[in-house]
């Protein structure tokens, strides 16, 4: 394969995104901005719904557990368990045992998204220096005030780190949603016979770009919500987080 041919492959893939062409069998028109737009929209809708539900469930639980400082083992090992179950197996399991369609796929993605968010919310809240909390109580803060004024602001960057990880995972995993009849960007990838290698490559490019954009965007949010004092103090990098088995890196614990 010459270099030119490689460049040609990618060039033709970009073209595929913007202009429709005949399918491999020559029976239908495939690709083009309209189809990719539709697929992207479904892809994003599925991802957003799943992530929103996961956040709504995992953040309160994680913060609560972190605040009371119990069930550390559970909160931390849930991400380890989550990582050990391959997403393809999870989706296949749902398809085989639960059913197909938007709601079922969304449910899988919620399950996938919960562990990193829950763990980070737990770690973020419980990592707050006990002396800080103690002095806050000593000055007369109520439990609620301790949580909302001390623990939450300090935990926020870590929580958003978890959301960022899960967002990337969800967007990536939504690619295999077509196995359960949800028409995401995985359509051109899975239906090789219709879309061909060029269609696969085109979809791969779009998925990769969306994921990177999503990561960068939430990374920006993460920086914005980090209190300035923490930015200044944190330069050696996440020292407090390492207390928990040293297993929780600063961001994404799961590629997808």
């Amino acid at each position: 394969m010459t270099e030119l041919a490689i460049i040609g492959d990618f060039f033709s893939a970009f073209e595929f995104i913007f202009e429709s062409r005949e399918s491999r069998a020559g029976t239908v028109q495939v690709g083009g901005l309209e189809e990719f737009g539709q697929l992207t929209l479904t892809h994003l809708a599925l991802s957003f719904v799943s992530l929103a539900v996961a956040v709504a469930i995992a953040v309160p639980i994680g913060i609560y557990l972190g605040h009371i400082g119990r069930f550390q083992f559970l909160a931390v090992s849930i991400s380890n368990v989550g990582r050990a179950v391959p997403v393809l197996a999870l989706i296949a399991f749902f398809i085989a045992f639960v059913g197909i369609g938007f709601a079922n796929v969304a449910l899988v993605l919620v399950l996938l998204a919960i562990p990193p968010i829950l763990t980070n919310a737990y770690v973020g809240t419980s990592q707050v220096d006990p002396d800080t909390v103690d002095s806050a109580r000593g000055m007369g803060f109520s439990e609620r005030q301790v949580l909302t004024r001390i623990e939450l602001p300090i935990a926020l960057p870590t929580i958003f780190g978890g959301i960022r990880t899960s967002a990337v995972n969800v967007v990536a995993t939504a690619t295999i949603a077509p196995y359960a009849n949800v028409e995401t960007l995985g359509i051109p990838i899975i239906n090789f016979n219709v879309y061909g290698g060029t269609g696969q490559l085109a979809a791969a490019i779009v998925v990769a770009l969306i994921t990177l954009a999503c990561d960068a965007g939430l990374g920006g949010v993460q920086r914005v919500v980090t209190p300035k004092g923490l930015k200044l103090a944190a330069n050696p990098g996440g020292a407090a987080k390492r207390r928990l088995f040293g297993l929780i890196p600063r961001r994404s614990v799961q590629p997808s």
Binding site: R83, A84, P86, A89, I95, A96, V207, G246, Q254
Partner: protein, 240 residues
């Protein structure tokens, strides 16, 4: 029994007692224990292909990431750029990366392994670099003060002391790689993922192939844990 039928023409399974429910079960794509027992053979090769992809990727990935970690330890300014590059690799969805590599390296193990190696980099690199950075400076000071050369200090003091962190990285990388290798069929590299995908509606198939992947991840996790215990007797001593 008048007519003699040559054995070779007898359909397979003719002489074995078949539970009618069982046939039904397979036809409906259900969870059928007897089918699993009979067909377990077909998962052996994909399983070992999966082990191969995971093992080779982890080995290569560990060597590269470990070297990068040492490099970043020596040249601190490299830490930022190396983290940035490995983070981007890490963020690209594996399906996309498998497909993006196809025009460059073609279908097969090579493409799958390149992608899987890429995913191990951030995890192991960051844990190696963090682990080395966490070694207390007074211990390094004492080591150099006693006349260990910088290389001796690295190999005899810093790396052993960073082992918990390094092996924690390896553990995460191992289970992650098992999971990602289920998608390696997109690169034409087979593995358990190909089995899952081939009959994604058949419960028996999904349970066996998926279960094997989970079991492999768990086994690798335990193996690294065992390695951790074997390599770090001082940790147990502290706990005792």
């Amino acid at each position: 029994m008048s007519a003699k039928i040559p054995l070779a023409q007898v359909p397979e399974g003719f002489f074995t007692e078949r539970d009618p429910d069982d046939l039904d079960c397979v036809a409906q794509g259900g969870f059928c224990p007897s089918w699993i027992l009979e067909n377990f053979d077909r998962y052996v090769d994909p399983f070992f292909q999966h082990v191969y992809l995971t093992g080779v990727s982890l080995a290569i990935g560990f060597v590269i990431a470990f070297a990068l970690g040492l490099l970043a330890h020596r040249k601190r300014w490299l830490t930022g750029p190396l983290t940035a590059v490995t983070s981007i690799l890490f963020t690209i969805p594996s399906i996309a990366l498998f497909l993006l590599l196809l025009p460059l390296t073609g279908r097969g193990n090579t493409t799958a392994i390149i992608a899987l190696v890429a995913y191990t980099q951030l995890i192991i690199f960051r844990n190696v670099a963090n682990g080395l950075r966490q070694v207390p400076s007074d211990i390094v000071d004492a080591s150099e003060g006693m006349g260990l050369t910088p290389m001796q200090t690295l190999l005899r003091v810093e790396v052993p002391m960073a082992l918990p962190e390094i092996l924690a990285g390896l553990r995460i990388a191992a289970s992650t790689t098992v999971g990602l290798a289920t998608l390696a069929f997109f690169a034409g590299a087979g593995g358990l993922g190909a089995e899952i995908e081939s009959q994604i509606n058949f419960k028996s198939n999904v349970v066996v192939a998926g279960g094997l992947a989970v079991a492999l991840a768990a086994a690798l996790d335990l193996a690294v844990l065992g390695l951790q215990r074997a390599l770090m007797p001082w940790r147990r001593a502290v706990a005792a």
